[in-house]
Structure formats: C-alpha cells, structure tokens
C-alpha cells in the first residue's frame, strides 16, 4: 500500500510538470492557433536559470536560494516568451504553418545553443537539504521534493485560474480562445494578448524547468523537448484552450504512464499513453473539456 501511495504522489508530481508545460501550450494554441514546438526550450532555459542561481548565490542559504531560483526561472521564461512572440512569431502573423515551422527551427537552434554553451551533460541542481528528506503520508515515506513540485504546480494552476476568471486580460484571453474575430469586433486588439499569453506560457514552462531539474535529477538542454511530446498529448486529451482540461489530462497521463511502467512493463508506460490518446480521440475528438471545432 505504501508503495502505491509513493508511486501515486510521484506521479502527481510528474503531472504537475506536465501541467506547467502543457497549460502554456494550450493557451498559445487556443488563442493564437500557434503550435509552439519551441516550448521545450523555455523549460530548459528556466532550468538553467535555476541552476545558475543555485550555483552562484552563495550568500543565501539553500532554502531561500531555491525560492529565488524559481522566481528567476519564472522571470527568464516570461521574458523569453515575450521576446519570441514579439520578435519572431508576430512577423508571421496569420501564417500558421510558417509559424509552426519557425518554432521547429527555433526549438532546434535553442537546444543546440544551450548544448554549445553548457554541454549536453546533465547539471545537478544544488538543493536544500529539506528536499531530500521524506514526509510520512498514509504510511509511505514520500520525498519532500515531490510534494514541493506538486504544491507549486497546484499553486500556479490556482493562480492561472484566478487570472483567467477574474481579470480583464484573462477575460479577453478566454473569449479570444473561443472567437478572436468577435473579440476584435468589440473593439479589442487581441494581438496584445498574444504577447501576454506567450509570456505566461514561458513563465509556466520556466518554472517547470526549475522543478524538472529537481524531479529528473539534473537539467540538460533536451529535457524540455523530451517532455514536450507528453505535454502535447496532454493538451490534445484535455482539449485545446481549456486549462481545467489540461489539469485533468495531466493527472490522467502521468498516472497512466507511471502505473503502467510500474505494474506493467518498464517502457510500456509511454506507449500506453499513446494508446490512451488514440482511444480518447476515437471517442471524443475534441478532447475531454474542449469545444467541438467549428
């Protein structure tokens, strides 16, 4: 029983990471119809930012240092997202295929750039001692870092929902995901929200990278890209543009992957996620909480 609890909480931690990657993707695609294949790079950039802070900010003790590291990864991710949108994506406004292709090139180049600067070897994040300890939950000794990752992901999910439901910008984004033309017809320049959405996506992915460096025992340039396929599957299963859907799908995908890998055969976990995707698409092509495409 205790191993089941351990497994489940670990899986929920992974779900948190998938959510952080997938939610930005979902919003970006929902609002802008842009398939951002460079999103993994935001994840990696955030991870390196966190590593850099943990490595150099000796003045602070590890606990507060990690907080700064996460904030740094969020800031770097947000800036990266904004820069990419303003500098590149915007130039191909309305040309969806070209935008996707540009993100492919960008993602490839960004990962290679980081590899060129930092090498492809994983860099271990210095962590507060507390991470390595465990907490007893339902008879299992759960590593604290898993709980932290889950906690941060839940916090950001809540924050994102508050932003979407209680702010004007969030309102515009939600309406824009459904019908950008009508939003314009009401006198609102939806394009301004594009930069915002890319920035939010970058922020979330960046934090995901910092946490991912902890979860996967080290950050390397390809880490985000390796997880990106799962993030995309999560987005499609949850329904494009739906944040609650992304949250549900993250949990579903992570649990499937971890349980199958453990109770089935190692390696079959990822394949079963693919089967899950195919199954859901056969029954409900718009995803769990997505709208039917017009």
């Amino acid at each position: 029983m205790s191993s089941f609890v351990l497994l489940t909480i670990s899986a929920l931690g992974l779900a948190g990471l998938y959510f952080l990657l997938a939610s930005g993707l979902s919003l970006i695609f929902g609002l802008m119809s842009v398939l951002n294949l460079a999103h993994g790079a935001f994840f990696a950039v955030g991870g390196y930012a966190a590593w850099f802070v943990m490595d150099s900010l000796d003045a602070l003790s590890p606990g507060p240092r990690f907080v700064v590291a996460v904030l740094a990864s969020a800031a770097v991710g947000a800036v990266a997202g904004a820069v990419v949108e303003l500098g590149l994506i915007r130039k191909l406004y309305g040309k969806h295929t070209e935008q996707i292709l540009l993100t492919i090139g960008l993602g490839t180049a960004a990962v290679a750039l980081m590899g060129g600067w930092f090498t492809f070897d994983p860099r271990l994040l210095a962590q507060p001692a507390w991470f390595g300890n465990t907490t007893a939950i339902l008879g299992a000794n759960v590593p604290n870092n898993r709980l932290l990752i889950l906690g941060v992901a839940i916090l950001l999910f809540a924050g994102l929902m508050v932003f979407l439901t209680r702010t004007r910008h969030g309102l515009i984004i939600r309406a824009g995901v459904e019908n950008p033309s009508m939003v314009r017809a009401l006198g609102i320049d939806v394009s301004r929200s594009f930069t915002l959405v890319f920035s939010i996506g970058g922020l979330l992915a960046g934090v995901g990278g910092a946490l991912g460096a902890v979860f996967f025992n080290g950050i390397n340039p390809s880490l985000g890209t390796a997880q990106l396929i799962f993030a995309f599957i999560v987005v499609v299963i949850g329904g494009l543009g739906s944040i609650p859907g992304t949250a549900v799908a993250s949990v579903l995908v992570a649990l499937t992957q971890v349980y199958v890998n453990n109770y089935g055969a190692t390696g079959m976990g990822s394949i079963s996620v693919v089967v899950l995707l195919a199954a859901i698409l056969l029954i409900r092509p718009q995803g769990l909480l997505g709208k039917v495409q017009a």
């Binding site: 309102l171 033309s181 314009r184 017809a185 009401l186």
Partner: protein, 232 residues
C-alpha cells in the same frame, strides 16, 4: 445625408470572387436593408465593412475610410456588429459577454440594454452557451448596443428563431435602431419591410436595385425577380 459610402468594392473569399464591383450609399439615420438570394455576398459585404475580410475598393463610414484598417479600430470608430449566428461567447457568462464589450472612455449603457431586453438582466451569471436562440440573439444585439454606435451592422437577426421570438426581436430592433444608421441583412422580407426604409439588392456580386424598401416590397414582380421570394 449619406453616412456610409461603398464604392467599387471587391472581396475574395479564398479563391472565390464573391463581390465583383459593389457601390452603394447608406443614408444617415434609418435602416437600409441589404437583400438578395443566398450566397450573393450580403454577409461578405458586412464582413468587409468590419475589416474581417480583406477588400479592395472604398468603404467610408462617416467620412472615414475603413478599408485596410484593423477590425478593433473600426469598432472603436463606433461601428457595432451583430453577426449571423449570434456568436456570443458560449464559455463566458452573460455578464462577462457584456463586460467584454465595455470600453474605457465610454459609459456602458446597461439601462438602455436592460430596458430593451429585461430577460437578460436576471441571467447575468448564466453561461451564454445555455441560453435559448432568442436569448442569445438579444445578447448579441445588446452587446453591440452597449456602447453608442453610429453604425450598426446586423446580419440576419431572426434566423432560426420561432415566430413569436422573431416579433420580440423585431420590436426591440425598432426601438434600438431609431436614432442610428443601420445596415440590415435579412432573408425574411417581412422583417426587412417592417424595419427598413431603404433597400439595396445584390445579385451575383453586384448591386441590382437601390431605392425604397416600400417600392420593392409592394411590387411582387420586382421582389420575385430580385429575391426569388413571394411577398407576404
């Protein structure tokens, strides 16, 4: 007095040359009905005016050229749009649909809107996707009226609605459009005749009639020839 002037308008939808060379004027204050058979380019004309479709030629609203301008800019000039199929934001509540339309620098006219559509006042927390067709139509119109509009573009407001609801919508439109310029696309000739003073008929992407609504409506030959409908 002309408020809207369209000259030599050409619009393509994908590869199809929908509007070939359309020119007509819309009088200030009052409803001009834009009529014609299915697929003739009525909605396309409205979309072009709203900047939602690229066009060549000229469309001036109150003397300002709108061809080539972005949609949100045109809307802020005071153009309200009630699209075909309503297009309310179904994942938002009624209240949120209205709030989205609110604009800084402009006092939202909730009193006016709720006077016209009292039913909506009690449904502010309701998800717009769960409203009936008629209620969605009221929301769509109310949303366009929230800010003072010098031009209203209304596309088939009675489409798919039950006859009693049609009457309610028409009543509301009569009141709502009394002091503004309106271009109304309608398939239902009775509705058009009831609301509009002027009429413009399109056929095969060009203007074939421009004049009084009454003349058109009371002349079965004319109506039959241009619209392919029997006059009620």
């Amino acid at each position: 007095m002309t408020f809207v002037s369209i000259s030599n308008l050409q619009v393509y939808r994908g590869e199809a040359h929908v509007i070939h060379d359309v020119s007509f004027d819309v009088a200030e204050h009052g409803v001009t009905a834009l009529l014609g058979r299915n697929g003739v380019g009525k909605t396309t004309t409205l979309l072009a005016t709203m900047g939602l479709l690229p066009a060549s030629g000229s469309i001036t609203v109150g003397g300002v050229e709108v061809v080539g301008k972005p949609t949100h800019h045109i809307a802020r000039l005071g153009v309200g749009y009630v699209p075909e199929d309503r297009e309310v934001f179904s994942t938002l509540t009624v209240g949120e649909n209205f709030r989205l339309a609110e604009r800084s620098g402009s006092e939202p006219r909730y009193d006016l809107v709720f006077d016209l559509f009292p039913d909506l006042k009690g449904r502010l927390g309701q998800s717009a996707g769960t409203l009936s067709g008629g209620q969605q139509q009221m929301l769509s119109i109310g949303r366009a009226l929230l800010n003072p509009a010098s031009l209203l573009l209304i596309d088939e407001p009675t489409k798919g609605l039950a006859p009693t609801v049609v009457e309610d919508v028409v009543q509301a439109l009569v009141t709502a459009t009394s002091d503004t310029t309106v271009v109304l696309v309608e398939q239902n000739l009775w509705v058009a005749a009831h609301l509009a003073k002027h009429a413009v008929v399109l056929d095969q992407g060009m203007v074939v009639y421009q004049g009084d609504m009454e003349t058109l409506a009371s002349n079965p030959d004319l109506a039959g020839k241009y619209l392919g409908v029997a006059v009620r």
